[in-house]
Symmetry: C2
Subunit: 139 residues, 2 copies
């Protein structure tokens, strides 16, 4: 459906300096669907995204880093709106560093909490599995 869209992108453009990736490549390597990536772009998460003459998105390594950051922030439960705020801060430069740092640290704490919760759930699920397993031994 969305595969192998940009076979030609990396071929003869500018093999010298910065590598650029098509949306399908990015989708495959990150595991995030092209739909979602376009949605994130519409949300303004990639302020410096380039396009080729067809209008197709060209992701730089910096954009890829940004995508991973967005993914991490989303996983920590930060809303789209919250990330838009973060991106706006980034665009305003050095003056907003402290605030951004505060946000990142806070979400880091959330992720740590979630990891612990997940571990708890895993343990519960495992014990439920064990219960069933033992109880089913008689059959």
């Amino acid at each position: 459906m969305d595969a192998a869209e940009n076979r030609h992108i990396d071929s003869g453009e500018k093999p010298s300096s910065a590598p650029l990736y098509g949306i399908s490549d990015v989708s495959v390597t990150t595991g995030i669907s092209a739909f979602t990536i376009r949605y994130y772009d519409k949300c303004g998460f990639f302020p410096n995204l380039q396009r080729d003459r067809r209008g197709a998105r060209l992701f730089s390594d910096a954009d890829l880093f940004q995508l991973h950051l967005v993914e991490a922030l989303r996983k920590s439960g930060l809303s789209i709106e919250g990330i838009q705020y973060f991106v706006r801060l980034s665009k305003r430069g050095d003056a907003t560093k402290a605030e951004r740092l505060r946000i990142l640290r806070a979400q880091e704490t959330v992720l740590e909490y979630q990891r612990d919760e997940l571990d708890e759930s895993l343990k519960r699920l495992h014990s439920a599995t064990m219960d069933l397993d033992v109880a089913g031994d008689s059959e």
Copy 2:
């Protein structure tokens, strides 16, 4: 809003055998909102749930265990429909043990994967934090 609903439940009902909990107690101890618990009930996740004469839900320890199981399964990404299927299997008894075990094991694997992903995100977020921190040191 929903707090201290069932102050009277545990008082003089049947202090002898099985303890029963009101929805607000359950909500507080599990961290799951009363709205969501009622929603889960409507989904059929508590087939043996008791009620008092007002019609208020009374959760046994078994129901609490079930709620935790549901939470774990939801966290692993199993849909409401999937959990309904699991509950239907449970109601059919021993004959369905193998299938239920298969489901639990599969979701356990998913949770393990998610934990790794979360760890990955945590690392990325941490490195982003560090980057900002170091870059901001000059100010």
